[in-house]
Structures are given as structure tokens and as C-alpha cells.
Amino acid sequence: MTEEGNPAPAPRSMFDRMRERLVPDGLPEDDRGRIRMVVNSLVLHLHPAKVPERTLRWTYSWGLGGLSAVLMMLLGVTGIILLNNYTPAVPQAYLDILELRSNVWFGELIRNLHHWSANLLIIVAVLHLVRVFLTGAYRPPRELNWLIGAGMLVLVLAANFTGYLLPWDQLAFWAITVGTSILSYVPLAGEWLSRLALGGPEVGGNTLLNFYSMHISFIPLLIFALMSYHFWRVRKDGGLTMPRGLDEAEPPISERVTTIPHLVRKELVFALAWIAALLVFAMLVPAPLEDIANPDVSPNPAKAPWYFLGLQELLLHFHPLVAGIILPGLAALAVFMLPFFDTNPASVGVYFRSRRGRSLTFLSAGLALVLTPLWVLLDEYLLNWSAWLPGWPALLSNGLIPLAVLLLPLFLLDEWLVRSFKADTEERVLFIAGFVFTAFLILTAVGIFFRGPGMGLYWPWELPVAGH
């Protein structure tokens, strides 16, 4: 490939010159060249020149962080294309979506791709967080990157939520109306916050413009900045945590292989496979679109976007201040503080940290799987705190007291773990997080699949089918 060593260099064509300009050193043929290529390339420089072979295992990272990045890129590209056919105004926004469907070549495909990538991104980002949690990969020195990652998850949710409104159909309008109604329960600043977000007393043209500008400028810019930092931080903190089996006492010494081709090939194949899958999915399954938003006609049930249905489910059981502010606030605080109170460096890289950790996680997930539906049913049909405590303020009778009653068993379980099993901080964190996360997943599933008209409990196959 290279011309070096040729005694009489052949006359160089225009294409040779172009190739030389693009890849000055030629395509690398040995490890030295490959390492040089990584080091000299802006994009590839996100990777170290060599990586431990062990961290390349699919079954450790599942490529979730990489997939998030791929989805971000897909969202960026499709989003920019969509910008060309969209006006953030009422009712033009909706007409533009109709036009995208009926008059724009590939308009529907691009919209579907954007829609499904965005929804997949939420799932993938949460799974990424779960993976990092289970392997303890947020321990020092990676605390900061955990914070950045958790912050990005919040931004991804915000991006999805603001994008949800843009089609301006019934689904969008009412999901955002339900979703933003929680803002007004923030203590002291609630009304002000709600007006700030909505640009008025209720969802309308100003909200659309607000959400649009957030969706296309502020949030993606911030995500891009944080994402770059996140990548850089991964390198600075020593790459991926070293995978380790449950029975391996010490982090193993792994052979280091060159990034090109071992890591880059994996990434490329992974990205291609997911893009192919998404493309086929987007071609087959259209993104939902209902009638134009009509503030006078609310659908029954009116549901928030699916990823907030766990919270909406909580709202059915608790005072809004508890369900909408205190509980999610505490959960977020716990997530952000995690690397500062769970610091045992010995178990980094081990799924579930230890055999005991795994048992406790299974136990907590199993318990949550039984107790959460049980509690939903009980609260739906039997418990009636506000009637049992007449005259008490709703915040107490329908908020803090049932919350205390609910948290008490969790606290007792935790005590029991400490007393009978001498569980340490790490194991208690695994147990409680496993319980709360499983419970939240179940609440979300209940909200999505089991809530029908009037937010009553229905079987999934009895739910009314809406939309066009």
C-alpha cells in the first residue's frame, strides 16, 4: 500500500493523492501502525491504543453505552432531517406531521426511526445504569462519571419528554398535560415552575415553542457535551472495569490487544446490527399518531409517556407531593449519592458483587414481584387511608402515613438482613435497590398494561385501542 521502499515511485494519480491526504500513513499493517492510527485520530482517540481483551466480552458490558451513543447519533441525524419539515406552531405542527407522512419521501421512515430510537434509548440508558450498578463500576475513581451518566439519563428523559409534545396530536397533548401537572406540586415554586415550563396556565402554543427549543438546542447540546466528557472520563478512569467471575478473588491480569481491529470491529458490527434492526423495525411499525390535539376532549384514560407511568401509578396511591416529588426526589438523590456511600473497591467488575449479593438481589426482586402487585390490588380495593383518618390533612392521611406503612416492611427486612445474615453496606444496597427497582418496573408495567378508563384496573387485552 505504501510507496516507501519502491525504487522508482510510480506516477501518482489524483485518487492516490486524495487517499494520501485522508490517510497519510496508509492503512496500518502492523500493531505499531494500528496504535499510531488510534492515537492520531480524533474520534478513535476516545479509545486507548490497547485494551485488555477481557473487557471486550459481550457478556460483560453488553455494549449498552456504545449502543446509547449509536442511538444518539441516529437521533441527531434523523432529528436534523425532521427539522426541515416542522413548524413549532399550533396547528401547523400537526399538519406538518401529516404532510411528513403523506407528501414527503421517506418522511414517515425518518420519523419512525427517530421515534423508535428515542424510545429504545430510554430502555438502553436505564439498562446501562443497571449494568454499571450491578458490577459496582461506579466505585472510586469512577464516581464522577457515574454522576455524569445519571445526569445524562435525566437529560435523555427530558429530551424524550419534550419531543413527545412536538407532533401535537391528542397523545402528545394529554401525555404532556398529565406529565407536567406534577410540576405544580413542587413546594413553594410549583405554580411558578409550571408556568415557566408551559409558558402559560396550560399546554398550548407557547408550550410547544418552549419544548421545541429545548428539544432541538439546549438538551442535545448539553447531552453532546456531557457525552464527550463521559467518554473521556472512561479513558481517564482506566477504561472499562475489569470483568471478574464470582469466584475470582483478585482482578485477573488480562492480555492487552490493539484497539484496531479488536475493539473497533466489535463496535462497528454492533452498530451495524442495531441500525439494521432499527431500520427494519421502523419500516414495519409506524410511530403512533392520533387526532390533532384538542384541549376540550380528553382521552380516557389520559396517560403520561410510558416511562413516567410508574410515577403516574404512584400518584394513584399517594398524595402528589409524596408520589411526584418526594419519592422520585429521594430515588434520584440515592442514585446520585450511590458512589459516595457504597465504596468497597474489592468487588468492582463482579456481577452482583458476590454470591451473597446475587442471592440477596434475587430475593429482593422476587419479593418485589410478589409484594408490588399485591399492594396495588390492596390499595385499589381495600385500603382507604383518607376515609380511615378523617379530618387529617391529605398529605398525612394519603401521603406520609401510607408511605411509612409501606417503608416499614422494607426497613424490617433490612434489619433482618443485618441481624441474621450480617449483611454489609454493599449487600444492603443491592437488596434495597433490587427491591425498589423491581417494584418500579412493575408499577410501570401496571401503568402501561393494566390501567384503563378512569385509571381503573383492567386486563391488558381489555384496554381500549386508540389512534389511527
Binding site: 458490527v269 446475587r358 429482593s364 414481584l369 386486563w459
Partner: protein
């Protein structure tokens, strides 16, 4: 490089090639299908808009432009070829801004109307490409069918009296024209209705003739009053003016209210049948044959003697001093019209004499002369069958309904078996008033549900799946915890 990494690499490369191929071919096929998809979605969106437009038409336009856009009186028809080929912008402008000096108001929100731009454009699409037959059905199903095309028959005796008045012939003409064109809105004897003012009125009589004439010929902008210039002859116009100014001389009752039959569609009949079974059959009998609690409806004498309006009034307001409740606040206009339409379609085949169902005393149903001799064994036998059916659900219920129908089809010769048997069963199922086979079958399908009836394989699958996963996890957790205690 080890054996496994070599294999991994091969798999990765293969997956990469496969993914690339999928991307290329999927895009290729998509590109080829894109023109078709665009065309299909255009059609789909048009259908969707036309569907919404029909509802808008029913709520906003049909009162003046007629059930199927055929126009009413002086209001122009919309189902004309001329309008179909009218440019979209022109249609939009007429609907949005209204027509000067006509009854057509501005509908756009910008001009104080109720409709958004999007809705107006849907209506324009309806005029250009709509199905007026389907539109008419939609208007009926929504209970918004206009009253206007209906005319009244003037009372012939009173008409003779009018002829005896000075200028009687003119007044007679006017009454006939009024009964044909005006009565639907301005009401019997010109006393007004909910949509138009009374003309038989002191203040109207005091108005100068030219003002009245202007309103009559050119309409009254901002109201539903259309201009009648092109519909009425000059003679008819002047006769109507005379009538309006001399109405105090006309005997009351000369112009009765028009008979407005409730229009029906396939959907409204289905709706009416369901509503009747759920709400009316309990007292009036499932076939309207009447019971001791309420009179028969399905009988010639009743159906020919009552107008649809009277039926609607009865349903809406109820009958005081009887057990007929007022349904007006429980059902919508459309639902009440659907029930009336359903009752009305019995008329051609209605029997001359009703045969009301009679409940028996003491748990047995049927006519009293058959109650004691047969009811015992038969009744208990069917009663036992009924409790089994309550447990088994749908199949048995429909079978019960079927047998009830069969019993009725057999006529009145053998009513006792049906009635007594099911009546006995009524003790453990529906309340005692459910005295007859027919009633029970109709009623229990709607009312009686057992929790076991809800149980199907999906619920079992969900419950067993969830529980087994949960208990496996718990068991795994416990087993591992107990098996390996910490060393220290």
C-alpha cells in the same frame, strides 16, 4: 491468537456482513415501495379527514344544509357538482368568512365562529370529495337530523273557516305555503320553536310590511333565517306577508305541528336494540309485548296512534304518576332517537292485540291456570340447570336465550314450560320479578357475571408466570443464603 478469539472474529464479521446486507436490501425495497406508501397514506388521511368532517357537518351544517347536503328551502345544496369542482380556496373562504347578506355566517375562529382552520379545511374536503349518503347516516346516528324538510297538513275544516274570511283565498294559500315551508322552524300555528321565533305574535304583526318582506326574501343575517327569494313566487310571498299581519284572525290549530319521523340507520337500529334490551325490556318485555309493570309497545293500536315526537317526549320526560321514569337526563338525544327508531320498526308486523307476559306467584311463572300442575318438577329441574349455567358462563347463557326465543316462537300454546321453569330458577339468581324465560335470558346476559367467568387462560398464564418467576427468585435467594454462610 487463540482459537476462541478466531471464532469470535468470524462470527462478528459474518454478523457485520449480514447487517450491511439487511440495511441495503431493506432500503432498496423501501425505496421501491415508497410511492405506493405515499399514495396509500394520502388516501388514508383523506378518509380520516372526511370522517371527522361528517361529524362536523352533523353538528354545524346539517341544520341548514340538510341531512345529506341536499339544501333546505332557500339554503343551497352542498352536494352539487358545481361545488365539488370549486377551488379549495374559494370553498375555504366561504366557510371561514361567511357570505354577505345571507344566513351563512363566518365559521372561522378568527371571525368569531366556532371552527378552527383545520376543521374548515376538512369541511371543504367533504364538499369536494364526501359521501353524502354516509354523511346523512352520521347525522342521524348523532341524533342531529334536521326538522326542516318536514311539512304539516293544515286542518281541512279550519281551512274552510279561513276561506270565509275576507281575502280568504289569499290566507288559504299562505297557510298552505307556511305548512309546507315554514312550519318546521316557526312551529305549529306560527308559535315558534326552539330554533326560530314565533310569527303569530303582536310585535311581529306591528312591524311594517317592507321590513317583513325584506327578511322573507333576503333572509336575516346572523340567524338561521335564509332568503326565500328563489323559492317562493311573488304571490306566495305577498300571501305570507298578509298571513303574518292577520294571524290573529286564523283559528288556532289550523296548522298542526309536522310529523317528524325519527330517521334510522343500520347503526342506530343496533344501538336502539341494545339500549331497549338494557333499559326498557325489563318492564316493557324483551319484544315490547308488555308486562304487568308496563304497557305493551309492540302493538298496532299504540304504534299507529303515536308519533315519533310523542314517543321521544315520553321517553325524555317520563309519564308522571306511573313507573315510567324520565330518561332525558340519563341518555343522549341520539340514544333516545335510536330507541324510538327501534320501537317504530316494529310497526309493520305489530300484532293487533298485545299478549303481555305475566309473572306467576310463589316463584313459578306463566299463566295462573298452568302454574300449580306443572311447575314443580320442571321448575326445579331448570333451576338446577341455571345455577350450573351461572358457573359456566357465556355458552350456557346464550343457550338459555336461544331456548327462550324458541319457546316464544312456538307461540302461546305452551308458555307454561318456559315460564314456570325459569321462574323457579329466579329464586337463586336474578330477583323475583324476573318471572319469565325471555326476561331472564335477556336480563341475565347483561347483569349476572361471576368472577369465574372472567377467568381465562391469559389471566392464568400471567398469574402463574409471575408467581413462578417470583418464587423461583425467592427460593434461589434463600437457598444460596442458607447454603453458604460467611466464613468469619
Amino acid at each position: 491468537m487463540s482459537e476462541t478469539t478466531h471464532r469470535t472474529r468470524t462470527i462478528e464479521v459474518l454478523v457485520g456482513i449480514l447487517a450491511t446486507q439487511v440495511i441495503v436490501f431493506a432500503l432498496l425495497f423501501y425505496i421501491l415501495a415508497e410511492p405506493e406508501r405515499i399514495e396509500a397514506s394520502q388516501g388514508q388521511i383523506l378518509d380520516w379527514h372526511l370522517d371527522a368532517a361528517m361529524t362536523l357537518y352533523a353538528g354545524n351544517c346539517s341544520v341548514c344544509h340538510g341531512l345529506q347536503g341536499e339544501g333546505i328551502g332557500a339554503n343551497p345544496p352542498l352536494n352539487s357538482p358545481g361545488l365539488q369542482s370549486m377551488p379549495y380556496d374559494e370553498l375555504y373562504k366561504v366557510i371561514a368568512r361567511g357570505r354577505f347578506e345571507t344566513a351563512m355566517p363566518a365559521w372561522s375562529k378568527e371571525d368569531g365562529g366556532p371552527l378552527s382552520d383545520f376543521e374548515i379545511s376538512k369541511l371543504a374536503a367533504l364538499i369536494r370529495a364526501g359521501d353524502w349518503q354516509a354523511t346523512g347516516d352520521r347525522v342521524v346516528n348523532l341524533g342531529l337530523a334536521p326538522l326542516i324538510p318536514f311539512a304539516a297538513d293544515p286542518d281541512p275544516l279550519l281551512l274552510e273557516q279561513v276561506a270565509a274570511l275576507p281575502d280568504g283565498a289569499v290566507l288559504q294559500t299562505a297557510i298552505q305555503v307556511y305548512a309546507r315551508q315554514c312550519v318546521a322552524c316557526h312551529g305549529a300555528d306560527g308559535l315558534g320553536t326552539g330554533i326560530a321565533p314565533a310569527l303569530n305574535d303582536l310585535q311581529v304583526r306591528a312591524k311594517p310590511a317592507d321590513e317583513l318582506q325584506r327578511a322573507l326574501l333576503y333572509g336575516s343575517p346572523g340567524t338561521l333565517m335564509a332568503g326565500w327569494e328563489n323559492v317562493l313566487t311573488p304571490d306566495e310571498t305577498s300571501a305570507l306577508l298578509v298571513l303574518i299581519r292577520r294571524w290573529d284572525e286564523i283559528p288556532g290549530g289550523a296548522i298542526p305541528a309536522p310529523d317528524v319521523p325519527v330517521p334510522v340507520t343500520t347503526e342506530s337500529l343496533v344501538l336502539g336494540e341494545g339500549l331497549f334490551a338494557a333499559n326498557c325490556a325489563r318492564c316493557h318485555g324483551p319484544e315490547g309485548q308488555g308486562t304487568p309493570r308496563a304497557p305493551a309497545l309492540n302493538v298496532k293500536g299504540f304504534l299507529t296512534g303515536v308519533t315519533d315526537q310523542a314517543l321521544q317526549q315520553i321517553v325524555i320526560l317520563g309519564v308522571p304518576q306511573t313507573s315510567m321514569p324520565a330518561w332525558g337526563d340519563r341518555m343522549s338525544e341520539a340514544e333516545i332517537q335510536a330507541i324510538v327508531g327501534f320501537i317504530r320498526q316494529w310497526e309493520p308486523d305489530a300484532p293487533e292485540v298485545a299478549e303481555p307476559l305475566r309473572p306467576g306467584g310463589g316463584g313459578g311463572g306463566g299463566p295462573p291456570w298452568l302454574r300449580d300442575s306443572q311447575s314443580g318438577g320442571q321448575g326445579r329441574g331448570q333451576g338446577g340447570g341455571r345455577s350450573a349455567w351461572a358457573g359456566q358462563g357465556q355458552d350456557q347463557t346464550t343457550a338459555g336465550a336461544g331456548s327462550a326465543r324458541a319457546g316464544e316462537a312456538a307461540g302461546t300454546a305452551l308458555p307454561a314450560d318456559q315460564h314456570t321453569g325459569a321462574g323457579e330458577g329466579g329464586q337463586d339468581g336474578p330477583p323475583a320479578w324476573a318471572g319469565t324465560g325471555q326476561e331472564q335470558a335477556a336480563y341475565t346476559t347483561a347483569q349476572e357475571t361471576s368472577w369465574r367467568k372472567d377467568l381465562d387462560w391469559r389471566i392464568l398464564l400471567l398469574a402463574t408466570g409471575g408467581l413462578s418467576i417470583a418464587f423461583t427468585l425467592i427460593w434461589l435467594g434463600f437457598a444460596a443464603l442458607k447454603g453458604k454462610r460467611p466464613e468469619e
